[in-house]
Amino acid sequence: MNIWLNFLIDSLAFGATFMYGSTGEILTEKAGHLNLGIPGIMCMGGAGGCLVLNMIGKSGLPGFLIVILGILGALTLSMLCGLIYSFLTVSLRANQNVTGLALTTFGVGLMKVIMIKLDATVYLVGPKQLYRWPFAGRQDSLQCLGVLFFLAVIVAIVSSWVLFRTKAGLHLRAVGENPATADAVGINVTKYKYLATCIGSGIAGLGGFYYIIDYMASQEAYLSLEAFGWLSIALVIFALWRPHVTIIGSTVFGVLFSCSSYITNISWIRVTMAMKPLLKMLPYVVTIIVLIISSVRNKRENQPPQSLGLAYFREER
């Protein structure tokens, strides 16, 4: 395959990790919660999926069942993390930044403790081919476009549709902009906050699972997962809080992030080793620029949700 096409597909596949992460984070942020626990949640999602696969990887169950059970495992653990986060921040009105950071510490740690005990020959070698359907077995980067990749695109589009085209989405955005007003018109603020956070966490968890089982498909993949959780939070800003934009955004991030390993193959661009870190810095710099531009232009629809980061207590004025 053409090296350029290979590179582009690789970036697209890589981007699915952030696509999940930022779609999940957008749902949470639209409810007014800046969830800095996303890296930990993604890690726990990965661990949950692999934990299930470790039990059933060699059981001889039909392939599609193994795929679904793995996804359910990832959803369960990451949604549990989301539940911890929403209990602390919604019900107990704890500081969101601190809770999120604690959750990341906890999630990343627990994932490492779990993953070290799992057997890669069981959870990875067999199942990875199932998840890579329909392109399993190919040698180029097309092999990574598996079940979970397509699911990521669907989830991003459906989330956008729900957020911007349905009544539930309207209510959710109202909660994130101004919970007191939403409460006054009879929207159950607590319910929306809980649901958005837990569903968002589940989606983000799938990103971690995809990264470990499909995109990297290696035993050490879990060690590098945390960094991409933070990149997912960056992508939320880049996508201006719109899930469908993350499809483009994640590809751009994928291109920026993986170009450092491809660019050395191109003879007419002279790249020294020292340039690589600077290339990897680009996604973050681009994010900062987008953040600045959107705040300078100050268009209402491109701003973070108004009550982002603030706890809501009905009796407080």
């Binding site: 740690g109 403790v113 960056a234 020292a274 953040l291």
Partner: protein, 374 residues
Amino acid sequence: MARTSETREPLIHLSKRSSIHPLKAWMIRLAAVALGLALCGLVAFLLIERLRANPGRIGEFYYTFIKGSFSTSRKIWKYLKNLSILLCIALALTPAFRMRFWNIGGEGQTLVGVLGCIAVAFYLGGKIPEWLLLILMLLAALVCGAAWGLIPALFKARWNTNETLFTLMMNYVATYLVAFFLEVWVTNGSGTLPKQKFGKLPTVGGQAYLLIILIVLALTVCLYIYLNYTKHGYEISVVGESVRTAQYVGINDKKVVIRTMLLSGALCGLAGYLIGAGLDQSITTESAGGQGFTAIMVSWLGKFNPAAMVLTAGLIQLLNQGAAQISQDFDVSGALPNVIVGIILFFIIGCEFFINYEVHFRGAKQKAGKEAVK
């Protein structure tokens, strides 16, 4: 909730406490830590095979916590050193937090501080007298840290750019900046910078870490005075309470934001200097080691009060070091400390709710009402 009948009360009713006795508040916090520790024991029981085989050793598990920090004098010094660095970063972040400026870029500000001071040592080490080198290193660290804090502050003041997200991104820019300089400085391909021969903080009283501890102690006192007894400190509090009030009484809130973030960044740079010149004499992308994030929790748990932060930093460091000892003694993954610290933080974070709010149950209230009638 009260849809079925007009008079039905909700099961749980919350109200904000106007005040709470400090003793009671501390009892709630202690109870939370105790509960957290109990849950940690349970988790450890599930994760550590050797404990499951012999449940009687659970006492040993808790003993190991204390052992990790206090069993030998070497460990005590190490404990105090780690506490000081963590406290230094937390102190640096506090002025910004008091202003409700969510500076979560302590990690990056510290890292560029280390970068600045090691850069000076790398290029000028051996060429100028050691005392001059140390001063230049300090200046470089302060300037770099302050610059890293200033950039988000300028945009916050001018265009109200979200500072939480901005400072978070700056952390990663700092990380890759360090990676870049490591590629430039280290030409043999190993990727690790050897220890610099020049630019090491002198030892005081024969103890390697004593100087660092004393510096941070002095900083704690200074910052306590700065925040509580100076005009600047007062302005920070007013801007934090309400920007509109600040504008009304004639405080230039933009100036305060920029000035405070310069201070916050520079103090992070100081922490970087203590790491670079006082401990490592070298730099990696992990030089700040996640402490910039832990420091946020230290500062918040200490209610942005420098004196209380000494305690919270002490507690978190105790947990870290104790859990590290456990993973060593019980032969489990080195990531266990993160799990244990995470669990206990959940409990401490959660318990603040019971300090700030009062919970009334429907039944309890009726009972209290009846007693009042009697």
